[in-house]
């Protein structure tokens, strides 16, 4: 895959000396051409700072940033083939929808006829043809969002940056815009760099995700890999729901650890390459709530008592208490022929090989 953005050894700190705040440290990253790339992390993790550095609004303290093979460090935002969709949309309030969309092309000095045809094309792309003459204040939030997208796409940038663009929309509209964004990316073939704190949004839309925390990239990979094989406790906790179990190591070998489960049975779990816990020590292991299944009491790998059941429509979350008093949440698809067990019911838990993983803390 051709590299569109290459970041090497990038650091960013605000302030100086002892009071300096290290917003980003040691970022190495390359983003492929035409990729939908997501920077995911809690607020304050540095994802927006990284986006602003790519856009050119901030300069890195150290490190190199290349776009399409050319170093752009030191170039202002107006000199980079990159456009941004701002969190607040930042539509020019005194300009009509059409003038907003045409602004970038006008600043690039494109002829009037070209601006006009591109604006018409963009209006069609985001399905806003009827609103061309409205002011931003005269259209809804979702429509403003589309205009902001069209405005950023109109100059046909190499890269489109999106700074939490869906966070101001209500749930239904957000779902709609998610598929809209995927469609636009597929149609235009432009590289999208998307910033969000919403893990579900990241999982559903991205080709690859970089999970960030405290100015560092903790894990980088496709959504399935991030979800199924989180590298550490933070990633496992941040992405989706997870059951953390403290278990004793019985045996080590072949990149796997045999762990003692509550109730005395044993199961083997994948061991990350970075750690090799001694036999007899306790480690953190995880199982995703949907990767375990209830069985009849006495069967399965572990035994548990139902404490509570929470109904979520498509599924029910069973809050269980394991034999050694550790909590466990089980997610169970709702089916009319299988009522959820009442609190106090004893049941067994089984899980597929590979569902249990040991994590670095």
């Amino acid at each position: 895959m051709q590299k569109e953005i290459e970041i090497t050894g990038l650091n960013k700190s605000f302030g100086q000396g002892a009071s300096a705040f290290h917003a980003l440290s040691g970022i190495d990253l390359s983003i492929g051409s035409g990729e939908f790339f997501t920077l995911l992390g809690p607020s304050g993790c540095g994802k927006t700072t990284l986006l602003r550095i790519i856009a050119g609004f901030e300069e890195p303290s150290t490190g190199v940033l290349k776009i399409n093979g050319k170093e752009v460090t030191g170039l202002g935002p107006s000199k980079r083939p990159i456009n941004t969709v701002f969190q607040s949309y930042a539509l020019f309030p005194h300009m009509s929808v059409a003038d907003n969309i045409g602004f970038g092309l006008k600043m690039l000095g494109k002829p009037k006829s070209e601006i006009k045809s591109t604006v018409a094309e963009m209006l069609q792309l985001v399905r806003m043809e009827a609103m061309a003459d409205r002011l931003p204040s005269e259209i809804s939030g979702g429509q403003q969002q589309r205009v902001a997208l069209a405005r950023a796409l109109a100059p046909r940038p190499r890269v489109l940056l999106l700074d939490e663009p869906l966070s101001a929309l209500d749930l239904k509209l957000r779902k709609e815009m998610q598929s809209e964004l995927k469609r636009l990316q597929a149609e235009t073939g432009i590289t999208f760099v998307f910033v969000t704190h919403d893990q579900e949004e990241a999982l559903t839309m991205s080709d690859r995700i970089a999970v960030m925390s405290a100015g560092e990239i903790l894990q980088l990979g496709p959504p399935q890999e991030i979800y199924n094989a989180p590298v550490n406790r933070f990633v496992a906790d941040f992405i989706g729901d997870t059951n953390f179990l403290i278990l004793r190591v019985k045996e080590i070998g072949n990149g796997e650890a045999v762990l003692e489960l509550p109730g005395g049975r044993q199961a083997s779990a994948r061991l990350p390459e970075s750690i090799s816990p001694p036999v007899g020590s306790r480690v953190t292991a995880v199982i995703r709530p949907e990767q375990a299944e209830p069985t009849a009491a006495g069967q399965g790998e572990m035994q548990a008592v139902v404490e509570a059941a929470t109904f979520f429509g498509t599924d029910t979350h069973l809050h269980l208490l394991l034999d050694d008093a550790q909590g466990f949440v089980l997610r169970r698809q709702n089916r009319p022929d299988q009522p959820s067990p009442a609190p106090g019911t004893r049941l067994g838990l089984s899980f597929a090989p590979g569902a249990l993983r040991v994590l670095e803390d």
Binding site: A55, G56, F57, G76, P77, S78, I82, N83, T84, F86, Q87, S88, A90, L91, F92, P93, H94, S96, F103, G104, M107, L108, L135, R151, A152, P155
Partner: protein
């Protein structure tokens, strides 16, 4: 009304003051402009249009039927408008970067800068104006320094020129431009500026297409706040301008003082009011036009 009808009572004290200090006197001025001047100042109660006639025209001393334009009055009118316009432009030009500087400081230090802006108001205008005189008179500070360094041989005449009046007025009215400009900038969404740069705009284009349209209300308010008191300015042109650069305020004061022609002073004052209101309406029409086109 739903029981809120009595709330208008809250503004009655202010209304009474307004009635006593503004509407009442204005009415009296209007009536005076149609009376004859008294011998020792004041008015005598005979109706005449002579005062209004003399605002615009002048009778020959020997042949009262020979009438010509009163160019002296018209000159003062024109000078007042022209100097006030220039003052407004200077204040806008100097006030914009100042307001921008303050608006882009961290929130905490902004208060300090705003506070500094208001410091000149603590000293009496008269004293500040005499201080300017100290700076610019022929043997004042500026000329002394320039002659000492050898840059000039003889002092530059600055006092009693339009330059002196402009300097004084720009100084006095600058805060009145800075404050509304700052208020407009503070409300501005600065991500708009970033969006401008992001969409390939140069600094000048960002200023012109993004920032200026956003702070336009500040410019409008600032211009009105500067232009109106400037056109009636009295102290500054009196001290720094002297008799040669008389402005409307001075001309009116002259009629009520040494001139002993109260009706003429009253007529001039009313005409000034008309000019100001007319200028205001014209200005708002011109400035507001774009918005109306957009809305239409």
């Amino acid at each position: 009304m739903r029981g809120h009808g009595w709330k208008w009572l809250l503004c009655t004290p202010a209304l009474i003051v307004l009635l006593l200090a503004a509407s009442g006197p204005l009415l009296i001025v209007a009536v005076y402009s149609f009376l004859s001047p008294g011998n020792m100042g004041g008015v005598s109660w005979e109706f005449t249009l002579e005062a209004w006639f003399r605002v615009f025209f002048r009778r020959d001393i020997f042949e009262p039927d020979l009438v010509e334009w009163n160019t002296a009055h018209l000159q003062v009118f024109w000078r007042s408008i022209w100097l006030s316009l220039q003052t407004t432009f200077i204040c806008a030009f100097l006030g914009f970067p100042t307001a921008w500087f303050i608006a882009t400081r961290p929130r905490l230090t902004r208060t300090i800068w705003l506070f500094l802006i208001t410091i000149p108001f603590w000293t009496n205008l008269l004293i500040r104006t005499f201080a300017i005189q100290e700076m610019i008179r022929n043997n004042g500070t500026i000329n002394a320094v320039l002659m000492w360094t050898g840059l000039i041989d003889s002092p530059i005449q600055m006092m009693f020129t339009e330059f002196a009046v402009l300097l004084g007025m720009a100084y006095v009215f600058l805060p009145l431009m800075v404050l509304p400009l700052y208020a407009a900038m503070e409300k501005m969404d600065f991500s708009l500026v970033e969006a401008g740069y992001d969409l390939y705009a140069s600094r000048l284009n960002v200023l012109w297409h993004v920032i200026l349209p956003q702070v336009k209300p500040g410019f409008i308010a600032g211009s009105i706040l500067v232009f109106i008191p400037a056109i009636g300015a009295y102290v500054t042109p009196r001290i720094l301008g002297g008799g040669r650069t008389m402005m409307l305020g001075n001309l009116i004061a002259l009629q009520f003082g040494q001139g002993r022609n109260w009706p003429l002073g009253a007529a001039l004052a009313l005409l000034m009011l008309v000019v100001v209101v007319g200028a205001l309406i014209f200005y708002l029409r011109v400035v507001g036009r774009n918005d109306e086109v957009r809305r239409g």
